[in-house]
Subunit: 155 residues, 2 copies
DNA sequence: AGCAATTGAATTGCACACAATTTATTCATC
DNA sequence: GATGAATAAATTGTGTGCAATTCAATTGCT
């Protein structure tokens, strides 16, 4: 194995961590599709709901668009239309903060809260049908967390 | 730790492998941005070019849109406009196969071929500046490959 | 109080992703 | 050789992502 081989190999698609990440992410989102179709949500909408459900149990100081954006690492350009759709679906309420009119506060509607109960059974079923060994995923989740921390630190 | 705690924990964002994948993928794409800006490419365009460069060294039976789509796991709805943009940039040539008029054959222009030489130095610099330890990424790449194979097998 | 700088959302514009449909071509079978 | 099924791209429509800008509200400073 020569040095130039090593270098050239760095341009092979299959050696690209970035491609594997990108492809795996889309593949997992695709795997979630049947479940999300039943819930009537898109994947990023589902992630937003996860945060809002979490906030029910342990409310943050401010349940604003900004806070949600920091949690999901998404900006208002993505979240504003997404949240308007969740509002249209009757799952989320959006209202300006009275303390600071710049902030938009987010709250779950009754339907949004109720939707939570349908998720776990669907997710269990998905996990079963996918035939994925949960224990195998532990290590991956940890490595991903490290990579994420690393990339975020250097940006 | 009760059973219901275990279940509830499955809805916490930070416990979602899917979210970590999704966030890490976007973070890595963001990290590539400075390099891709210099090349004048978007991230999926870069991936397409990686495949086309690879095909120079070892040509596939058919260098078609379909073959590229299988390699990148993307469909024509994504690739058609993307490839038209690469053609506009003067990097790629698109022409119907004479053997089968349904197929669209892809080829690199001289400029497309030449662009390859600028990638490795930029990538080396990116890797250095990011401060990422390449060895740490090996394990992650392997786990991702396994996950990818797993999810693809069950779809 | 007055005003510049900052902040939080919204908006705009571009490029994906992907489902669903359409169109053109080829294949298979009769 | 006609024709129905299959195939490869292209098209259409919806929903992100994200950079850049705009707008309104607030904060800091004098």
């Amino acid at each position: 194995m020569t040095a130039s081989h090593d270098l050239e190999a760095q341009l092979l698609l299959d050696n690209q961590l970035c491609f594997k990440l990108y492809a795996a992410s889309r593949a997992v989102i695709r795997a979630y599709k049947p479940m999300l179709d039943e819930l009537g949500l898109t994947y990023p909408q589902y992630l937003a709901m996860l945060v809002l459900w979490e906030w029910q149990a342990s409310p943050p100081e401010q349940a604003t668009v900004k806070a949600l954006g920091e949690r999901l690492m998404l900006d208002s350009g993505t979240l504003t239309p997404l949240l308007k759709r969740l509002e249209q679906l009757g799952l989320v309420q959006r209202r300006r903060s009275s303390a600071d009119e710049r902030e938009l506060c987010l709250a779950l509607s009754a339907a949004g809260l109720a939707l939570r109960d349908r998720v776990l059974p669907l997710k269990q079923r998905l996990l079963c049908e996918s035939g994925v060994d949960v224990n195998e995923l532990e290590g991956l989740r940890e490595s991903l967390g490290q990579l994420l921390a690393l990339v975020r630190a250097h940006s």
